[in-house]
Symmetry: C2
Subunit: 169 residues, 2 copies
């Protein structure tokens, strides 16, 4: 994931970005999901057993008292469209603002099985300055123990990069 | 692609949707790209040779005199982030408002080779009522003659469904 770059201009001097800040985020996350997927697929097992890689973003339409995530760009099979903060691995990472590294999803209380093939999962929050958790990176693996501290380190670096590279609503 | 459904509520009575209409669109297109990809992969050759399936949306930040497409959710390798209306197969479909079925991309003037493996391509405009072309469906195939009139018919039906199922900015 070291080779990520984001070439879509942020239009920082264009005030119309204020009314629609989402576009560069979508385009960046779409390519980031692809890079993440193909990077994992190019690695030895268990990394090449990754079966879902992508993003959920905080839904600005959800009330602050009951925030939810909404599905963003990803690679893999179809996924839950919305996830409440606090629910499952993704919702827990979003609510806690902390990475969840789950070596066996069957042992995670309230795990949401979007793809029944998933056996392990890592979810890393994307925290934008002054805005809290704006999105999460979600990667699933079809085998147990698919992720370790190396994944955590590099996905957290990616989260920091995306926090700065995207216009978050 | 017959089994597409879109469960994210459109919040039609919530005025906040007016200030941020993109979310349900992103979430719908993300799952639609996945369904499209896996539907093609489940079919006989040449359909299972599809190597890119996804969406570009009209960039509301681009001036009406020089509209451009911006990358949306997709499955496949990383892709061009922006494409000017009129440029390549995607830009031609967007500018003409008409499906482009290209049996051999090498013979299409100005073809943009995002993935060098692509040999044929079909691009179908998504036209929203009163808004013109709001997005395009783009599917690439790694062999020539990857698409025919059956693909055109069903992708055009999908385009109509998405035109009505999403909140377009």
């Amino acid at each position: 994931v070291l080779f990520l770059s984001f070439s879509y201009p942020r239009h920082s001097q264009n005030e119309s970005v204020v009314t629609n800040p989402l576009f560069s985020q979508v385009c960046n996350l779409a390519n980031a999901a692809s890079l993440l997927w193909h990077a994992y697929k190019s690695l030895p097992s268990p990394s090449n057993q990754v079966n879902w890689a992508g993003f959920y973003t905080r839904d600005p339409l959800s009330p602050p008292s009951a925030p939810q995530l909404i599905l963003g760009p990803f690679q893999g099979k179809v996924a839950c469209q919305t996830i409440a903060f606090g629910r499952g691995v993704c919702g827990t990472a979003a609510a806690a603002g902390a990475t969840q590294l789950v070596r066996d999803v069957a042992r995670f209380p309230g795990h949401i099985a979007c793809d029944a093939a998933s056996r392990s999962e890592i979810v890393v929050p994307i925290v934008a300055a002054g805005r809290g958790v704006v999105a999460i990176i979600d990667v699933d693996c079809a085998v147990e123990d698919g992720f370790d501290e190396v994944d955590r380190e590099w996905l957290e670096r990616l989260a920091k990069l995306l926090a700065e590279a995207c216009d978050w609503p």
